[in-house]
């Protein structure tokens, strides 16, 4: 039995700065051992414990899609001790990865449905993974209409601009990008995510809304979805909490009797309403 606390080693293959202020970067990692890559069998919405040996570990959502073979990607914002240290890393440096962890987006349940992906700011990484996955030629037929609504404070903070530009040009996906305030050169939508969702007005018919973003955006978007007649079972969210082990042992990420790391991070709004706990 290999210890679940021991990370697999990867090498940084590329680093892409994702925003104007340069505090969000996407790291592309390649496993040092081929077997590790096979073991790392994930679905969109899962996360991994990323570690810099000697500095520590932190949970990060997987930004790549399992359909992107050969490497995995993590979009990391410079926040605390570990993420700051990772931001000092260069291509070729070694990063530890434990995972995949968590339940991920319920792919089987999403099949045959219209999918509305709603994201705000930095919280788009596992949504990117999901959209990328659904658009893959092997999977596209499993899903009906795909709509992406993604908001940011300004256009320099929009993640994955290459992917989004590609998606915008595609026929089988609707993309609505928005920024909070008008900017010179921006010809997309302007306004917070919730009113844009209301304007796009997706039908709840055979649909699932997947919402990720800062708490206030989640709250206002939930209200809009409710108004649009989405049932709590049709709304999925991914939670964040302080974590250490990621495997349900260290204790701290509980909401009531559920552990975000193993029972989540993905919960439906219906499940969340039933959960009594601190969050």
């Amino acid at each position: 039995m290999l210890s679940p606390y021991i990370p697999m080693l990867t090498t940084i293959k590329s680093i892409v700065s994702e925003n104007g202020v340069n505090d969000i970067k996407t790291y592309e990692l390649v496993f040092k051992n081929k077997e590790d890559e096979e073991k790392f069998d994930y679905i969109p919405g899962q996360f991994a414990e990323i570690s810099l040996i000697g500095k520590g570990e932190c949970p990060i959502g997987i930004a790549s899609s399992p359909t992107e073979k050969g490497s995995i990607k993590f979009t990391i914002k410079k926040m605390g001790t570990v993420t700051s240290a990772i931001h000092n890393c260069e291509v070729g440096d070694i990063i530890g990865v434990r995972g995949p962890l968590g339940n991920g987006w319920p792919i089987e349940e999403l099949k045959g449905k219209n999918i509305i992906v709603i994201g705000g700011g930095f919280a788009f990484s596992t949504l990117r993974s999901l959209v990328y996955y659904m658009l893959h030629e092997d999977n596209r037929a499993n899903f009906k209409d795909i709509t992406v609504i993604y908001g940011n404070r300004n256009c320099s903070e929009i993640l994955y601009q290459d992917d989004l530009m590609k998606w915008e040009r595609m026929e089988d996906i609707d993309v609505a990008l928005t920024i909070d305030c008008a900017e010179e050169g921006w010809d997309g939508r302007v306004g917070f995510v919730a009113p844009i969702v209301e304007a796009v007005s997706p039908s709840p018919e055979n649909a699932v809304a997947i919402v990720c973003g800062p708490p206030i955006m989640i709250k206002t978007t939930e209200d809009v979805l409710d108004k649009l007649n989405f049932q709590p079972e049709q709304i999925l969210e991914s939670l964040e909490m302080r974590m250490k082990c990621g495997i349900g042992k260290c204790g701290r990420c509980n909401i009531g009797e559920k552990f975000v790391c193993i029972d989540g991070p993905v919960f439906s709004q219906a499940e969340l309403r039933k959960m009594h706990g601190d969050r």
Partner: protein, 356 residues
């Protein structure tokens, strides 16, 4: 298999025989506190004790434990897994409540997709020799718990000892225990008087447990009581230290830190005991803290043991040892908290009557 007799002066012999095969842990007195330590000199074993201050869980889930070590060589990193988990461990003189805590911890660490290999391997290699509790404290309440807790409970050990005064009655319980007893050919046979005496002591010990708590409905009462004013009340004088949790035989929370030896380019990733009573335990990097005040933190401790454990593992996360009660610096008594919780039920009932 028949019961045996171990004379008190033969404990030395027992230690000598068994420490050849096992790392022999037993209660010993260190600066006035009873703690379980690896025993090299059998004179240090202290069996006339109420219960240890730090529970013997410390042997299988230590205060600080290496998850793995590593060597950093320029840009290369080499990870070294633990290699010392095959050590054969024998824990001698464990009280029944603490012996049950091992079973409880096993349920927890073995639960779900990810097993805690460190605990599980050590547990697998551990032999437990229990010691009947003839002198329960006023704060003990094992008999109130769902595991048929009893000061003479034998279920969670390999061999069970009862202090008969001059001698210990030796009960082999598990197959491992029987095999060990087989090897200790010098043990004498127990007679009917010994068995009867043990039986009497067991009844007497049970009668000495004065704390009786009704825990039958506590879990279900707690379900709708998340926002009850009770939590403010019971957390009012809490100082927010970690005594109740650090000295609890069932608490398992840990933090993970790096212990780096920069001079030698080596390091260890270690886990250390952590507690839900600390503000930092849940503080997120963003500054948000889901359990920002002691109200939420005190509530989490009680709910974890008396509501979340029953929901997740179908057992109460408490063994009834009473350590948190008599060691709390401000005497925030768990028994009183349970009584207040149970009183909510009556509150609810009264409301029902009014509504009817």
């Amino acid at each position: 298999m028949k019961e045996k007799i171990l004379k008190k002066d033969q404990v030395k012999q027992l230690h000598e025989d068994l420490s050849r095969y096992y790392s022999f842990y037993a209660p010993t007195k260190v600066k006035g506190n009873i703690v379980f330590k690896k025993i090299t000199n059998p004179e240090d074993i202290e069996l006339e004790y109420l219960n240890s201050k730090i529970p013997p869980k410390e042997i299988l889930f230590p205060r600080m434990e290496t998850l793995f070590s590593y060597k950093i060589d320029e840009k290369n990193i080499e990870i070294e897994p633990r290699t010392d988990l095959e050590e054969k461990i024998l824990i001698f003189g464990v009280r029944p409540c603490d012996a049950y805590s091992f079973s409880l911890l096993e349920t927890f660490f073995n639960f779900g997709q990810f097993k805690d290999d460190l605990f599980m391997k050590k547990k697998e290699n551990t032999v437990v020799i229990g010691l009947a509790c003839n002198t329960p404290r006023a704060t003990c309440f094992c008999t109130s718990l769902d595991y048929n807790g009893h000061p003479h409970r034998k279920d969670d050990v390999d061999i069970f000892l009862t202090d008969l005064g001059e001698n210990y009655l030796v009960n082999p319980i598990s197959e491992t225990g029987k095999a060990i007893i087989d090897k200790l050919a010098w043990l004498s046979e127990a007679n009917n008087d010994d068995l009867q005496k043990a039986e009497e002591l067991s009844k007497k010990a049970e009668s000495l447990i004065s704390t009786k708590l009704d825990l039958q409905h506590t879990a279900e009462i707690l379900d709708p009581s998340f926002n009850h004013p009770l939590w403010k009340e019971v957390s009012e004088n809490c100082l927010g230290c970690g005594t109740c949790t650090f000295l609890c035989p069932t608490c398992t929370c840990f933090d993970v830190v790096e212990d780096v030896d920069h001079y030698n380019n080596r390091g260890k990733r270690v886990r250390i005991w952590d507690t839900c009573q600390f503000c930092l335990y849940t503080l997120e990097t963003s500054g948000h803290n889901p359990r920002n005040t002691k109200i939420e933190r005190c509530r989490n401790r009680v709910l974890h043991k008396f509501n979340y454990y029953p929901k997740n593992y179908d057992l109460i996360g408490c063994v009834g040892c009473g350590r948190c009660i008599h060691l709390c610096p401000v005497n925030n008594d768990l028994r009183e908290i349970i009584k207040k919780i149970n009183a909510i039920k009556n509150e609810n009932k009264k409301e029902e009557v009014v509504v009817a």
